[in-house]
Chain length 242, copies 2
């Protein structure tokens, strides 16, 4: 951990509160059209449909498709189950773009700004570059670079994504700390030789919903409550910086 | 021009003053080692060695190599011609990295900040991502995304670079304005359907050195003296923005 020069961040759940953002946008969209549904449930169901959709691309069962395309398809399947009317392709794509404008967690903007004074900081997301550009502009987070799935034409947890971002930064895996609220993502990064930091986001799926397991003590290099704590921990270690 | 949503910028010469930056770093490096040479001449010769080195990669005469590798090779050839001692590989790579930390032109940081209020802004450079990350951190320019040659494994003026950046942004070529101080770069971008803006950088090669031809009136969509003028021109047009 003494040679960390860059931090890579998972985005959905780790940096931004997708549930609140998607739920509120869905509700607003429904209100304007006199459509009612259990929006919080639909938001979570939509997110849970991520993993199998990404897996089909990752395992080569289908050609490359970015998150907008995948989210439009999963919403097309979920809509009737949640009492929505039939939705056209343009509407589905508009809904998919709700994932471009999500609120940052309260500590994200300041946390990344503090971390950026010493380290190169960049997202490593299953979102694509266009989505990340919108996220950056909507939240005000300042990054040094953006790593989206379309740069690698592959989704996490494929090693090509972690090692691809490390390579583009010109660092070795051991010089990079990967930060995420999802143990499976961290495990894959650790398997590629990156250092790992678990950040707890207990509200990711809602106040009473536990989807992700809590890591055991010592399972990852660092475990923090938010990004401000991470900044403080790294400052106290007086680690090597760029 | 009414549908511009993003601006892509050439970097060396257009955003940063490579000549002053490289010249000063070479001079400092020489002074520390009691080596003297005509540093301004070496800086310009090094830059002029760019084009043929890039062309070998672009045309497939050799495998992919990033700008650090190419600059190390060209310096290896130039050093004896300019009276430098034989340089080892590590030294050559250190010298090549001088191209990572170059001063912005006086209007660059404020110009990009003003343009960013209305448009997505990103460099499209023959530099690689690691180089651009250093450039961003050294100059304080804030971009929305970075497009380096290693993302596309190809160098400008290959169409793959211009169209690759446009595609990753999720825009159409006609929604993007490419800004550069080099007519050949602008011609290639125009050939891909991008709009074009020539920015005059008369000091790029030194006060009395003219390397680039001056474009004729109307040859490109816009011609400006610096990026502040570009911001003013675009603001006055009240163009569509993201």
């Amino acid at each position: 951990m003494s040679e960390i020069r860059a931090l890579l961040f998972d985005t959905f759940g780790t940096l931004v509160d997708w549930r609140t953002g998607v739920m509120n946008q869905l509700e607003q969209w429904g209100r304007a059209r006199n459509i009612d549904a259990d929006w919080p449930a639909l938001a979570v169901a939509w997110r849970l449909a991520h993993a199998p959709a990404l897996a089909k691309v990752r395992t080569g069962q289908r050609d490359w498709a970015n998150l907008d395309q995948l989210q439009a398809e999963t919403m097309s399947e979920l809509a009737p189950q949640h009492g929505l009317p039939a939705l056209g392709d343009d509407t589905l794509l508009d809904l998919a773009r709700m994932w471009h404008e999500l609120p940052a967690w309260p500590d994200t903007v300041e946390g990344i700004a503090r971390l950026r004074t010493k380290y190169v900081v960049a997202p490593l997301s299953n979102g694509h570059i266009a989505l990340l550009v919108h996220m950056v502009r909507a939240t005000g987070i300042t990054f040094d670079a953006l790593f989206g799935s379309d740069v690698f034409q592959q989704y996490k947890p494929d090693p090509k994504t972690y090692l691809g971002a490390v390579g583009l930064l010109g660092f070795e895996p051991g010089e990079v700390l990967f930060v995420a609220s999802h143990p499976s993502d961290l495990e894959a990064a650790a398997g590629c030789g990156l250092h790992t930091c678990y950040v707890s986001r207990p509200l990711e799926y809602g106040a009473d919903v536990v989807v992700e397991r809590t890591p055991t003590e010592g399972e990852f290099d660092l475990m923090v409550g938010d990004l401000l704590e991470l900044a403080t921990v790294l400052e106290s270690k007086a680690l090597h910086h760029i």
